[in-house]
């Protein structure tokens, strides 16, 4: 059946059709929807693991255990999973194991732009690179065949423009793939030096065999066109080049490691000029050059940064780009923002008011680093908020500083808890703020060990963050309400005084996930003095009218967290159902202001009458 699927949906569908029974991942853009879609098939036991290393070890165990297994992660996730990756290359699999690495050229939602094709070379593993959702579907199935025939994990490298692109995919029925036998194999699976030394030559031999396979594999192909220009391309870059230069010849590599160079040598003889197009680093280009194959143009023209496009390929290789329309107007940015009512807004506001140094981490709350909250000094990688804080307090020992780090619950389980144990072990005095919203929100609300439910929707034990922190040896652990700035500040003030590692758990379910909708708030424009305290928390529901110098609240967006009213020093913001109470408060406020004004006028009058009173 023909259907339109995203690359991620196509990968999940292909896994289903290939008879996969175990699928594992940790969520990460642009890979997340792969496992979300695997979870829709009853035949696949799908799970979110706490991090990518655990996920790949689960996957490796499942493959050794005889089940066809899929493991998915974003590019930086493979850094975390690199340890099992390199050794699984030695042990091989039993049933097929396909590892999807979803790279993010242009860093649409990532902290770096690494090219994970380097991992295939470093771990000596085969890598396939589809160029579209349809190919992603086909390549997953091919990857399982290669994995089992050559007894190796197979890497499938996709990029954002494949994962989140959609295309027409021809789906099929699920193949019946029985569970393979499991037999103990000491020499193959116990990687003691004595065994690993015997496995390494097999890895090298496998690489030679795989390179040979590339010559006849349908994953690689030559498309004959004009003799003037020939493009060597892999991944979605092929599609960009094909649209930019439909008349050219193409050597399309789908099987990009180990690279079969006989094809490239043949192609070189077919064309006058040979250009290489690839997203990321010059991996194909350098492999060709190292084999003595002349490349006329490549990264010197397309550049190393961002993602390619039809226009970039046109420009790089001498074609004109159409002129688009232009505006002289300064179009204001529309950056992503924390949602109205977000449980992260209050704690970062409190930390800002406390003038703390805050090391941050990866999640929605990284947005608190942006204006107007601007309260985060670092964001490096998953879990680094805690460990980097240890380094910070060690480096600046004895300095008076309100040192804190902020980390989400999912990120804490991923790789924060190890840092916290380290902080206790090395007695590093700072406050770890754990943002307990019960869900992995940034990637679209995936369950985690703090949810009480797993990917399959089954009820599971909900890990208790407070007890966990205490079990790690943290003496001072407090829990605060994410919608109460005063309480959070008070608690933080207490914690600044501890000369020990301490933990503050900030509690409130993610408003979008839990669909929290409390009674909204309203601005009494009569009382509003236009001081902008309420807009400093960066809530999308609070709007400031510059001309009128008044704030207002969008009643549709407001979820009633009350943070803006907590920020207001003039009693001008009230809950819409508290009109009567507010009327009294407003009356008192008006009276107070009138008295203050009268007093000021009186003083002014006195001053005017008294002549020279003050200093000039």
């Amino acid at each position: 059946m023909k259907t339109v699927l995203s690359g991620n949906e196509a990968i999940a569908r292909a896994a289903y059709e290939a008879g996969v029974t175990v699928a594992v991942a940790y969520p990460g853009t642009p890979s997340t929807e792969i496992l979300m879609n695997c979870g829709r098939y009853d035949a696949i036991r799908s799970q979110w693991s706490v991090n990518e290393k655990v996920a790949l070890e689960v996957a490796g165990g499942a493959a050794i255990g005889g089940a066809r297994t899929l493991c998915a992660m974003k590019h930086v996730g493979l850094n975390v999973a690199a340890d099992p990756l390199f050794t699984l290359s030695y042990t091989g699999v039993n049933a097929g194991l396909v590892i999807v690495t979803a790279d993010d050229p242009n860093m649409w939602s990532s902290q770096n732009e690494q090219d994970n094709r380097h991992y295939a070379r470093a771990a000596k593993l085969p890598m396939l690179e589809p160029s579209s959702p349809a190919e992603a579907h086909a390549f997953v199935k091919a990857a399982f065949e290669i994995s089992e025939k050559y007894d190796t994990p197979v890497l499938l490298r996709v990029t954002t423009r494949i994962c989140h692109a959609e295309g027409v995919v021809e789906t099929a029925e699920r193949a019946d793939v029985p569970l393979r036998d499991y037999e103990r194999d000491f020499a193959k699976r116990v990687m003691l030096p004595v065994n690993a030394r015997k496995r390494h030559p097999m890895v090298e031999e496998r690489k030679i065999a795989l390179r040979r396979l590339g010559k006849t594999s349908p994953l690689n192909r030559i498309e004959k066109g004009s003799e003037e220009i020939g493009f060597v391309a892999g991944g979605v870059a092929y599609e960009f080049a094909k649209e930019a230069f439909p008349e050219a010849s193409f050597l399309k590599y789908g099987f990009t490691h180990p690279l079969n160079l006989d094809l490239a040598k043949k192609f070189r003889r077919m064309v006058k000029k040979l250009y290489v197009v690839e997203d990321g680093d010059p991996v194909l280009e350098n492999t060709l050059k190292a084999a003595g194959i002349a490349v006329d143009k490549g990264k010197d023209r397309t550049g190393l940064l961002g993602e390619l496009s039809v226009d970039r390929v046109r420009k790089a290789f001498g074609k004109r780009v159409k002129a688009g329309l232009k505006t002289e107007t300064a179009v204001p940015a529309r950056p992503p923002a924390l949602c109205a009512g977000c449980s992260h807004r209050g704690i970062f506001t409190a930390l800002k008011l406390e003038d703390a140094t805050v090391f941050g981490d990866i999640g929605c709350y990284t947005l608190a680093a942006l204006p107007p909250i601007s309260t985060m000094d670092t964001c490096i990688c998953m879990g680094a908020s805690i460990s980097a804080s240890i380094g910070m307090v060690k480096a600046r020992k004895g300095e008076k500083r309100k040192m804190a780090c902020a980390i989400g619950d999912s990120t804490f389980f991923h790789s924060g808890v190890t840092g916290l144990i380290d902080a206790v072990h090395n007695d590093a005095p700072f406050v770890t703020v754990i943002l307990d919203n019960r869900i992995t929100a940034m990637t679209g609300h995936q369950n985690n060990p703090n949810t009480g439910k797993n990917l399959m929707g089954e009820s599971t034990y909900r890990v208790d963050l407070v007890r966990l922190a205490k079990a790690c040896g943290v003496k001072h652990v407090d829990t605060v309400d994410a919608w109460n700035i005063a309480e959070m500040r008070e608690t933080l003030q207490k914690h600044w005084e501890y000369d020990k590692p301490s933990v503050v758990v900030v509690r409130k379910d993610c408003v979008e996930w839990a669909k929290i909708r409390e009674t909204p708030y309203r601005v009494d424009t009569d009382l509003c003095v236009g001081c902008r305290s309420c807009v400093k928390i960066g809530c999308p529901a609070v709007i400031f009218d510059k001309a009128a110098k008044k704030s207002s609240i969008d009643p549709v967006l407001c979820v009633g967290c009350s943070l803006c009213s907590q920020m207001c020093n003039f009693n001008a913001i009230y809950r819409v159902d508290k009109e009567e109470e507010h009327a009294k408060i407003a009356e008192a406020e008006r009276r107070k202001r009138a008295e203050r004004k009268a007093k000021a006028q009186k003083a002014a009058a006195k001053k005017a009458a008294g002549g020279k009173g003050g200093r000039k």
Partner: protein, 193 residues
């Protein structure tokens, strides 16, 4: 519409239902026998920010993204977003724009100004501009969330696919209890086209 690839650019603000509008169009194009490609960006880039969906269909479509100046139809759910995406459009692009102003965090907090006269400027760029108050129509229908389907209706009225192809796709894609409301929203848009 055969031979050449048709490029549709749907833009707006996160949460406006841009993704759904794109999905319906790609279903309709697929059912008409076209090759279809579509591109979106999720994750960090999406949270309340500027969102776009690029849909391309034709005999064979390669790139999932639209090259500069090649948009045939621009469907903008918010007028400032139409301005933001001008580089992908040309003078002859059919521009269907919701005449609605939605603040960004930077304009809401007064860090930047929401420009004046956006609608007027759009008229100077496009020979074929259809500006409509989709939010008002949606409010009349009692649900602000149907802005996307009203705009989809306008676009459908400007394209060659049969009307039933669109309504069938809507019926297939939407939960049953929302079908009636959305078909009415679609009709309102379609008849304004």
């Amino acid at each position: 519409m055969s031979g050449k690839t048709t490029n549709v650019l749907v833009v707006g603000v996160g949460g406006q239902g841009i993704i759904l509008a794109g999905e319906i169009l790609s279903m309709v194009a697929l059912n008409a026998g076209f090759d279809v490609k579509k591109s979106e960006v999720h994750g960090m880039a999406q949270r309340g920010g500027s969102v776009n969906s690029q849909i391309r269909f034709g005999e064979t479509v390669h790139s999932p993204t639209i090259p500069q100046g090649e948009t045939d139809i621009l469907l903008a759910f918010e007028k400032l977003e139409a301005l933001r995406w001008l580089p992908l459009c040309n003078r002859n692009t059919v521009a269907i724009v919701n005449d609605q102003k939605i603040h960004s965090l930077t304009t809401a907090t007064g860090l930047q100004d929401y420009p004046e006269g956006v609608s007027g400027e759009l008229a100077t760029h496009f020979k074929n501009l259809h500006l409509l108050p989709a939010a008002e129509i949606a409010r009349e229908l009692g649900n602000i969330r149907v802005v996307n389907v009203i705009l989809l209706g306008v676009m459908a009225g400007r394209m060659d696919f049969p009307r039933e192809a669109w309504t069938d796709a809507l019926k297939k894609r939407l939960p049953p209890k929302l079908v009636e409301l959305n078909l009415e929203a679609f009709r309102r848009g379609y008849e304004r086209a």
